[in-house]
């Protein structure tokens, strides 16, 4: 991984279209400004992980199978 040192208001350019700006530092965190083409997806990594986990968790709850399975597990405990 490339690691760069930047100060507040300094920028980093990625390719031709993306610019990151360090906006401010506060409370152990950093605010970052992102200029990128509108069609480019930009999101916090946590959100991506949450999305993936939710998709993995989708159940056809209507058929009741998942609930039944869980109930059996609760009884076993």
């Amino acid at each position: 991984m490339l690691v760069l040192f930047r100060k507040v208001e300094q920028k980093i350019k990625i390719g031709d279209d993306i610019t990151l700006t360090v906006v401010s530092l506060a409370g152990g965190g950093v605010r970052i400004g992102i200029d990128a083409p509108r069609e480019m997806k930009v999101m916090r990594m946590e959100l991506l992980e949450t999305q993936k986990q939710n998709i993995e968790s989708i159940e056809d709850v209507d058929d009741g199978k998942a609930l039944e399975l869980l109930k059996v597990a609760v009884l076993k405990r």
Partner: protein, 147 residues
Amino acid sequence: MLKERRIIKFPQGIPGLDSIQENLHTFMFIPDEDPNSSIASLISIENSKIGFVIFSPEIMFKEYCANMEVKREEVATIQVEATTPIDIWVIVTVNHADVLKSTANMKDPIIINLDKNLGLQLVRDDVAHYTIKHPIFLEEPKEGEWN
């Protein structure tokens, strides 16, 4: 803990569902038939094939609920004020092959505003040691093992 059927609106949807079908905002909350159960279902009104098994951490994870801090701005979209009654639920990832290995996403709880029937999944970067794949069943003791 919510015990009756209710239609809950998620103004911001539920993260990830957009990639399957857009604009899924309304879900039916269906409690388990067993009134002592901590599990329930959440089914999309717009597409009944899309649902979740959800779990109330209220009984099994008392501390989790007691220690949960929610910032006002995090729940502004579901109109939660200091005195608003809320429910906390987490989405279960059911492991169909080995149900005891099922997990729950305790990092990103669902908050329901019980007054207005509005819901929201918080997306958090860190909730102490509670993870996105938190085991909810203790492992079964192996045969012959003292416990």
